[in-house]
């Protein structure tokens, strides 16, 4: 599928932000360490081993859990009224207005170019061990799949089901989930590119790299 790259790039340039909503991972007493408008940094280092800015501390059963910014940006919508309070799991706390970088723009635009194999159900997904090993060793861009190949395990209602790939044959260009992630129905699992489309994809990537400035 060809896309109007100019339009897409213009749209992203006019608003190159995405808001990441942060929720409490579990219950506990919260104390915020940031305020509205404060710039924060995401994890850094070769293996992303250096944590980002400390956002808040959540204390449960006398164990403080320090929560750091998962990405860089500006803190917005901090719910200061919750400071010092007991909060439930999944409570919205703040957002980080994150400026998309070149790689993220490429990722987003590619979802409109690649064949997307989406989650058939809301479930947890795993790559079959052989596929996971292959991807780890080779990188996804060189692994081919064809319709009927059983490449995923869907864990649903305490049962594991093998999922066969259905779609155009091609190489796995992008894996959109981490092993064991809970993926919403229809959300992308894999981005597949047919061999004949590869030059076009590369052209798109090259174009974005040239035109997008971080």
């Amino acid at each position: 599928m060809d896309i109007n790259l100019n339009d897409l790039l213009r749209r992203y340039k006019s608003h190159p932000f995405e808001d990441y909503k942060l929720e409490t991972p579990h219950t506990g007493i919260i104390s915020f360490k940031v305020e509205d408008g404060q710039p924060v940094k995401g994890p850094s280092g070769k293996w992303l081993h250096k944590p980002g800015t400390l956002l808040y501390v959540l204390e449960r059963e006398k164990n403080p859990k320090r929560i750091y910014a998962p990405c860089s940006g500006e803190v917005v919508h901090v719910r200061t009224e919750l400071d010092g309070q007991f909060v439930e799991a999944g409570e919205e706390l703040l957002s980080i207005r994150h400026r998309l970088d070149k790689d993220e723009i490429i990722d987003r635009i590619l979802t409109q170019v690649l064949f997307i194999f989406g989650a058939p159900q809301r479930a947890r997904f795993f790559l079959i061990p052989e596929m996971a090993t292959k991807i780890e060793r080779k990188s996804s861009g060189s692994i081919c799949v064809a319709p009927g190949d059983e490449i995923l395990i869907m864990s649903l209602m305490k049962r594991d089901t093998m999922i066969a790939y259905a779609g155009e044959p091609g190489v796995i260009y992008k894996v959109y989930f981490k092993s064991g992630d809970l993926v919403e129905q229809g959300a992308p699992l894999l981005g597949i590119c047919s061999p004949e489309k590869l030059p076009y994809i590369n052209k798109v990537i090259q174009r974005i790299k040239t035109e997008w400035e971080d």
Binding site: H26, T27, E61, G90, Q121, A123, M157, T161
Partner: protein
Amino acid sequence: MSEDCVLIANRGEIAIRIMNACNELGLGYVVVYTREDEASFHVELAREQRGAGAVYRISSYKDPNEIFSVADRANATAIHPGYGFFSENFRFARRAALRSRPLTFIGPRWEVIRDLGSKINTKRVAKSLGIPVIPGSDSPIYNEMDAEALAEELFFMQKEQGIKHPSILVKASAGGGGMGIEEVNHLDTFKRVYRRIQNYAKRQFGDEGDLIEQCLTDYQHLEVQLLCSRHGEVVHFGTRNCTIQSTGRQKRVEAAPGFDPQLYDYPFDASKVLERMVKYSVRLAKHVGYDNVGTWEWVVTRDGSPYLLEVNTRIQVENEISAAISRIKGHQGPVNLIKEQIRSALGEKLGFKQKDVSFEGTSIELRIVAEDVKRGFSPWCGTISRFDFPEEPWARLYTHVPRGRPYSIPTEYDPNLALAIIWGRNTEEAKERAKAFISACNIQGEDSQGRAIVTNLDYLYERLEDVLRF
């Protein structure tokens, strides 16, 4: 007791049954739920009965820190674990009892859960009390020569008994839920299977110990329901038959009492077998100082031999069929075993003795599940738009599926929809009523592709013919 507040650390219909029991006892309660269960009826009902402050969203039912954190926040004094999750976790029960702000664990003492939670230990203690257990090892075997010698003995013993196709099971002793079990049909293949299971057990559980036991193929699965107190009282509520199961050993239709010799001929004296099972169960309970509800699981072979399988140190899903046929001091109407369990855990005396308990009729439980029985009982997921059941004086229904609004079955849990408890003056009537109940059920819904809901109602109807038959 009325000042106690119970944290219900479970979901679905059992949460609702515990809420009902707390209401009947005049106890306060709080419930927890996960995001996936936001639309569950147990959440709606708790908000309605106790207000928004009695309902807490947690990250997981399996995170003990979440449960204890909410218990403190809500000033709960006791935790009811229901079944599954923490119900048989002695570490959880111990933590509840020993923390700086102790909580009453509604279940047996943690020491009892620990001791009976191990199948090997249960078997060893049972054996020492003269209670029959499935022939085989009563401790993990690590030595191949010992294992082979025992296997040889088990094959020989079965041949002596005239069993045409003897077989044994090799089980990873640290395993559970059907994992790490293989059948051996011939002694020649034993060594290979033993080594395979040993390697598997080492890999999966970090303990290569194996159990070896005779493989029973023609048997009925029975249970004995006990209720004990912190004051040394032990009372039984008869037996149940749980033989009708789906693949993966999931119970689907249960009946109480365990056999009906008035309706069916058994190749043994069924009343005597049931009596023996009850007697043995009570013997073990007294020996270990059992002090809450519990289920003693048995298998009965075609020659009428009962063998103790294990003890479930918790309330069972199917407890209510035992309750439905029980009368205390001649009172009409069923017993509420969950209520009795809570009273017992909070330190009350039972207030009745074995001689005060009588039995009346037959009760059948139907587990209504969204599953495709023709495709290996695979779970169905989608949205339920209509959920109608007949209202009858002889039937009770427990469900977390709300009525009057669409409900999407959460994909994180089992697709269990409801439990129906049917009572009849005798087995035939109970079966007829169960059939009438199923026929009057109306469950509608569709999946994301617009295909109609699949349930096991037809399967349950068909299997009613097999209830209590050997």
